[in-house]
């Protein structure tokens, strides 16, 4: 069990980690989802010992790591940049950590060969990193990280600098590889909601150094705990609308007729409503102006302006909405999430997005 206890770190007045705590069990792949600058890298670097936190502690199976320098921690890491030793061959690169651990060369070489075989680079053992493509370089880095069999594996957006399709393929390869390594604690930082959701057994949401939510992907996506969490995990973006309940009911541009059961039992007051882009659809009484519509193969994401409110609509079909055109839209408000004035989830109505 890897325990992260109350980590805090600030530099030059910017908070990178703000009281972050989590317990990570062996055999799970945890994704850390957050935008650039959310503190994902700081968290991984703190666990690796490359960053010394202002306060808080990391421990593995009850043993504190505060006094362990990076070179004594049982961690392995793969970064965004393809970092390998330029002066060593591919084989020597992968054997390097084993030799440092005190393994004899023949044994280190055999393990390194076997690992290079698994990442599909057996033909490249003699090459230098500079003679490999980006994807191959990152495979070497992954092989170097895995060969040590460290119980904690840290992956910091490992594929972000690769071609899009290669990224997809390598992601799957990595998962296949990790399935053979039992008992590993894997942390994978990502900026893409889909990647984080599909890859992780568990997901940590971060923003501005804070942990927003922590749980199974289905649970975290199914009921985003705060507005901030909803924003981080939604792609396309989620619509956040002001919701007024009282004598007069209004959810952004939508009125009481649209609200239906949504507001039943809500005390009068000011709330906020989170409405997924997929819960807006064409048709209905409201006329919105198209700001920009983007088609991607089988789907259309349209940015709308409805009575001064910026809305995003996600359709599962290919539709052409020219910019400036006026189209009718309807909202399925009943599927929205209601947040209090402080931004925490009060309740969600109809279950959807999971069983």
């Amino acid at each position: 069990m890897l325990e992260i206890h109350d980590l805090t770190h600030a530099e030059d007045g910017v908070t990178h980690l703000d009281h972050v705590s989590a317990r990570l069990a062996p055999g799970t792949l945890t994704t850390i989802l957050g935008r650039t600058g959310a503190g994902k890298t700081s968290l991984l670097r703190t666990i690796a010992g490359l960053l010394v936190p202002d306060s808080g502690e990391v421990s593995l199976d009850g043993q504190g790591w505060s006094r362990l320098p990076p070179w004594k921690r049982p961690t392995a890491m793969v970064t965004q940049q393809f970092i390998n030793y330029p002066h060593l061959s591919t084989l020597d690169n992968v054997a390097f950590p084993l030799v440092r651990k005190g393994l004899r060369w023949p044994a280190a070489r055999d393990s390194a060969r076997a690992m290079l075989d698994r990442v599909g680079l057996s033909a490249m053992v003699g090459r230098r990193p500079s003679e490999l493509s980006g994807g191959q370089q990152q495979r070497v880095a992954i092989a170097r990280a895995l060969v040590k069999q460290a119980p904690v594996l840290l992956l910091d957006e490992p594929f972000v600098n690769l071609d899009y399709k290669l990224r997809e393929d390598l992601r799957e390869e990595l998962v296949d590889m990790l399935r053979n390594e039992s008992g590993l604690i894997v942390l994978y930082a990502s900026t893409e909601p889909r990647e984080a959701l599909s890859l992780g057994d568990r997901i940590l949401l971060m923003a501005e150094g804070r942990l927003l939510d922590d749980g199974e992907p289905q649970q975290v996506f199914g009921a985003p705990a705060t507005i901030e969490a909803a924003r981080v995990i939604s792609d396309p973006p989620i619509n956040i609308l002001p919701l007024t309940v009282g004598a007069h009911v209004a959810a952004g541009p939508f009125g009481a007729q649209d609200a239906g059961d949504l507001i039943r039992g809500l005390a009068p007051g000011e709330y906020r409503l989170g409405l997924r882009a997929a819960d807006l659809r064409p048709g209905g009484r409201h006329v919105a102006r198209v700001v920009l519509s983007e088609v991607s193969g089988s789907e259309t994401v349209t940015h709308l302006d409805l009575a001064g409110f910026a809305l995003v609509m996600h359709e599962k079909s290919v539709v052409t909405h020219p910019p400036g055109a006026e189209i009718a839209v309807d909202a399925n408000l009943a599927r929205g999430f209601i947040y209090g004035a402080d931004g925490t989830l009060l309740r969600r109505e109809a279950p959807h997005g999971q069983d």
């Binding site: 320098p69 070179w71 970064t79 230098r128 040590k148």
Partner: protein, 294 residues
């Protein structure tokens, strides 16, 4: 696979040949320009007084009678001084000072590049500048303090004293070159090595140093060239015991200039640097520098 850049002009054979001819013509012209002084020194070194005064002649036996007088004078022959001792002295001082400077300078540079230092209001950049600022002062200002210090230590006119002085002069260059080079090696490489179980010392020797070889070569070249060529300090800090090569060559230039001896000694004194140039050139063309810096 070799990708040669595309010839920007349409490939008309005539213009291509013309271009080639122009290119080689220019190279030949320039080579002549560069080679001429060497040729002059070489012929002169094989002349005697008669041969020298007869003007610029190039062909031995036909235009002048070759003589080994100049070369013999290097070993103390008539009209010359033995330069074997000064030569060996120069080698010792240059190599000694360069090795010490590079070793200390590289270690200091790695520290300055990777760790944060604070001394009063001095930071890393200030310390680096402090090193290089030693070279801003004109040598004449340094000569007297050096003289006094060496005298106090009893090291005047000794190899050890000269090495000490040259280390003081060369190490700033080494630090300066190497700080820059280490800064160009991504920090991520050090961190990866830490993650792979290397402590900082091992990281330096097993990972950073092997990747800094091109920088070491450049720094070493600077040190050797400076140390080998320096006349001023060699002149002010030695008398007779430990004369260095540049000093003894200049000493040749007495009332009657023995051009033959001067030429011969000039050629021998240049030889090590020419050799160095070939070695470094081979190293560079082998791609020693290519790809090392990202």
């Amino acid at each position: 696979m070799t990708h040669q850049p595309l010839d920007p002009e349409p490939r008309a054979p005539v213009s291509r040949t013309l271009k080639l001819a122009l290119k080689y013509g220019f190279i030949l012209f320039w080579s002549a320009f560069v080679v001429f002084p060497f040729l002059w020194a070489l012929t002169t070194s094989f002349k005697d007084a008669n041969g020298v005064t007869n003007g610029a002649t190039w062909l031995p036996w036909l235009q002048y009678q070759p003589s080994t007088q100049g070369w013999a004078s290097l070993f103390g022959g008539p009209g010359g001084t033995n330069i074997v001792r000064p030569y060996l002295n120069s080698i010792w001082v240059t190599l000694g000072a360069s090795v010490v400077s590079i070793t200390l300078g590289t270690l200091a540079a790695y520290g300055l590049s990777r760790f944060t230092f604070r001394f009063l209001f001095f930071r890393n950049a200030d310390i680096t500048f402090f090193f290089i600022s030693q070279r801003i002062m004109p040598p004449i200002v340094l000569a007297i303090p050096f003289f006094l210090m060496l005298r106090a230590l009893g090291l005047l006119d000794s190899l050890a004293g000269l090495i000490l002085v040259y280390v003081a002069l060369l190490m700033p260059i080494a630090v300066w070159v190497m700080v820059d080079f280490f800064n160009s090696i991504p920090r991520g490489l050090d961190e990866m090595a830490w993650m792979d179980g290397c402590d900082p010392i091992t990281t330096f020797f097993r990972v950073i140093l092997p990747n800094a070889v091109p920088g070491l070569v450049v720094a070493g070249m600077f040190c050797v060239i400076f140390g080998w060529n320096d006349f001023f300090f060699a002149f002010t800090l030695t008398f007779t015991q430990t004369q260095l090569l540049p000093v003894s060559i200049v000493a040749l230039n007495s009332s009657v200039t023995p051009w033959w001896a001067l030429s011969a000694s000039a050629l021998v004194s240049i030889a090590p640097l020419v050799l160095l140039a070939f070695v470094v050139e081979r190293f560079l063309s082998k791609g020693g520098l290519a790809g090392a810096v990202r």
